[in-house]
Amino acid sequence: MASSVNTSPNHPYIPSTDSERREMLGVIGVNSLDDLLGDIPIEYRHPRLSLAAGLSEQELSSVFSSFAAENASSATGYISFLGAGAYSHYIPSTVRSILQRGEFVTAYTPYQPEAAQGTLQVGFEFQTIICQLTGMEVANAGMYDGPTAFAEACLMAARVTKRTRIGVLASADRRLPETLDAYSKHQGIEIVELSPDVTEIPDDLACIGIQSPNFFGAIEDVERLTKLAHDSGALSVVHVNPTALGLFRPPGDFDVDIVTAEGQPLGVPMAFGGPYVGLFACKKSHIRQMPGRIIGRTTDTQGRIGYALTLQTREQHIRRERATSNICTSTQLIGLMVAVYVATLGKQGMKDLASLCYQKAHYAASEINRLEGFSVETNGTFFHEFVVRCPASPQSVNAALLERKIIGGLDISDRAEKSMLICVTETSSKADIDRLVAALGEIGDRS
């Protein structure tokens, strides 16, 4: 059977040569590959596939350069004021440097702890960092992303309280209740929207889900809302912006039960939305209901310190349909980025960075607020982002900004009339902000 073993020249990713293949087939005791494929229905074997021929690395690079060139980014001279869940932050060289280490990048889940102490100790550092940042007692080694972490936190609250209704503040990013909905829709869970000003809640809620800073950038009164939840036996689930934790009081200060966050701001490229890492921390008492991988410290037969996956009986590979979550492959490598990022910024850096972001966003807000026709609508304390009401549709304003190589704020006219959500971090220089303000001024004058 001539066609049975592919006789094309070797590919760089496939070492076996024709003669080796023949030798191995001989050892196996067959004449051709097809002899090994007997279980595949013959009529469907070797289908025709419409796929292009392989490219050399040099050609592949050109293909990808074109993809990249078709996108507007800082690399093509654009400045951007988008936030709303993914943030532009400066990523220190240490993060990229460590992220190039193949021993981290090309390992897998540390099933053999003796051969994975690197991954494991980093995971333990990550858990520590998340606890320190959030002020919580325990954290897991990471979830897929922020919204799934939030969804799993609400489901966990339902398991802990054995209740099936979940309250989510109306001020939250809609991606949170939407993801929660997708995660819970067949589990008899009902999602209830709550006003941030709510003073009374139904007494059968599993939790109140709070985003703070909320979708509009404003700090919520987590303390009050947590008390409200606890008064009715519900848990408090708070979704935070981890950068803000350099400056603002952490949820741990307010007796919050579960904290989640999108970890992206901590050293992870925006990368059109992923991969990111979900941060997940909770009170120690709830730990056996926690989803996700957990790394624990232990000792070896000689009494030396070592780390290993622990509390695995919560997990799908052991508990199967009764697991706390179906999560398996998670986001260890992104957790490494977070660990290196936070270790690099450190105590002072995290504080300074949060202050700097605060300064810049407030400067931008105050400058925009002065413009004829524009008004800043986020009340009270905000972080990173704020709502700007525009004199014309945000869509038209953004189109005019784009002509100036400025990617404006997120159009949120579906949530607030004629409004956009503008985000400013430390990666926007004063000159960038002034350029935005000047452009908005011009656009405002015209409309």
């Binding site: 990713y13 496939i14 990249a68 690399a75 059109f272 622990t310 492959t329 784009l402």
Partner: protein, 488 residues
């Protein structure tokens, strides 16, 4: 930053233990805007207790830690069902191009045409490879792909008001995520037996398939490394019962260009880009688990789905989408790597991947079958499941063999899975390892078998030269220590 204790042992202190007040590894720039008033101090925290170390400390600490790992870049890593193949370095570079890594997920579509075009091209290729043309790249890992697939199945039945279908039939050999995902999807998990050959017990399946069957979840090839010979009969049974067939395509590495799942009656499948399509496993993620479906089911796909319209590329939400299963558009830079992988190999290369993966696994099986029992005594696909039952009787368990392999710089196979095989050692060499490496593995496995008689202690006390010997996992779980705490 020291790397040994004064006694010369590896210094395992954590960053917080190494922290010194006032040290720093980074400087945040001074503010260039006029000073803004800070909020009420009652909102502010004092300090965050985080490490204070120098930049060299950061680099040295993590560099030294990295060396404690086994990895593809440094070791043979035949971890079954995980497809630990070579992860091309070019893919990492391309995914990190600023034009791909520095774009925001909410940018206007006209500013991210390259990114969406890439996603569309990958969707097309995955649809072609699996024969299931409806593709969403949203799922962030295999398990999320499964979950999305099950939501699609439920949406399909719901749309037909076929609301009694609350059962997922799952083979006893299935990966744990299958039943876990099914139960998240509100389905009752019913297990179908494997027969003596490792196939689905068709008679048992016939008994189970009924009007309450929502979906049958078949891993193909199975976790025994076997292609289900009765696949056509099975998909017919399920379809006749009104259910859908879900294929767990985590093991797609065996099938590239050899058969299309869609041709076999599969309705829905997922694939792990971090396995077959060679994106790095990262010590446990990130991954990406695209879900592929028939044309008929495409309207239920999770959003977004990349499409090409006259005006350009866009991210669409299918008509009756099951919705948003995560934050944005999936693992974009993982998708970019996978697409680069497909492009680098092309049609012939992808076929060659599976051909060589299959030959390598069968070669190992043929060379070890006299010493180790096989879970199924027939040709395997891309992996072979050995059983250390004979070794167990002689005093050495699967885990001991696994640990002893580490002494030779070889990562252990997947142990004790699938659950239906005693002392399972699931060996997946992948096509990217050379025959010499396979021969080395074979020689070491044979030697370990010899050592059971000549020197069992060397196995039972393995591993010998790693940073730790075997760990006390029981105490770790009983008295969990999960974070650094200040010395008391």
């Amino acid at each position: 930053m020291t790397i040994t204790t004064n006694a010369g042992d590896l210094d395992r202190r954590l960053l917080m233990d190494r922290s010194v007040t006032g040290r720093k590894a980074f400087t945040v720039p001074e503010s260039d805007v006029p000073a803004q008033e800070l909020p009420d101090s009652s909102l502010l925290r004092d300090d965050v207790e985080l490490p204070e170390v120098s930049q060299l400390d950061v680099i040295r600490y993590f560099s030294v830690l990295s060396q404690l790992n086994f990895s593809i870049d440094t070791n043979f890593y035949p971890l079954g069902s995980c497809t630990m193949k070579y992860n091309p370095k070019i893919n990492d570079e391309l995914a990190n191009l600023p034009g791909l890594a520095e774009i925001h997920p909410l940018q206007p579509e006209e500013t991210v045409q390259g990114a969406i075009r890439l996603l569309k091209a990958l969707q097309d290729d995955l649809g072609e490879i699996t024969g299931l043309p409806g593709v969403s790249l949203a799922p962030l890992a295999g398990a999320q792909g499964e979950y999305a697939g099950l939501l699609i199945a439920r949406a399909y039945h719901d749309a037909r008001n076929d609301d009694k279908r609350t059962v997922a039939i799952v083979p006893d050999s299935a990966h744990g995520t299958n039943p876990a995902s099914a139960s998240m999807a509100g389905l009752d998990v019913v297990t179908v037996r494997s027969d003596a050959q490792g196939n689905v017990d068709v008679e048992n399946l016939k008994e189970l398939a009924s009007s309450n069957t929502a979906v049958f979840m078949l891993t193909i090839p199975s976790t025994l490394g076997l292609f289900e010979p009765n696949i056509l009969e099975i998909t017919t049974i399920i379809h006749n019962a009104g259910g859908l067939v879900y294929a767990d395509g985590a093991n797609l590495n065996a099938l590239l260009g050899l058969v299309k799942l869609g041709d076999l009656g599969v309705d829905i499948c997922h694939s792990n880009l971090h396995k077959t399509f060679s994106t790095p496993h990262g010590g446990g993620g990130p991954g990406s688990g695209p879900v592929m479906v028939t044309d008929e089911l495409a309207k239920y796909l999770p959003k977004p789905v990349a499409e090409k319209a006259d005006a350009g590329y866009l991210l669409a939400s299918p008509e009756q989408s099951i919705g948003t299963i995560n934050g944005f558009h999936g693992s974009f830079s993982i998708a970019a790597r996978a697409y680069a992988y497909i492009k680098a190999l092309g049609l012939e290369g992808l076929q060659s991947v599976s051909e060589n993966a299959i030959i390598s696994a069968n070669y190992i099986q043929a060379k070890l079958r006299d010493k180790y029992d096989l879970a199924a005594d027939r040709y395997c696909m891309h992996e072979t499941v050995l059983s250390a039952t004979r070794q167990k009787k002689r005093g050495v368990a699967g885990i001991d063999i696994a640990k002893r392999l580490l002494d030779f710089g070889i990562h252990a196979p997947t142990m004790y899975f699938p659950l239906i095989v005693d002392e399972a050692l699931m060996v997946e060499p992948t096509e990217s390892e050379s025959k010499e490496t396979l021969d080395h593995f074979i020689a070491v496995m044979r030697q370990i078998d010899d050592e059971i008689d000549s020197n069992p202690a060397v196995i039972l006390e393995a591993p010998h030269d790693l940073p730790v010997t075997r760990l006390d996992e029981a105490t770790a779980a009983r008295k969990p220590v999960l974070r650094w705490a200040p010395a008391e």
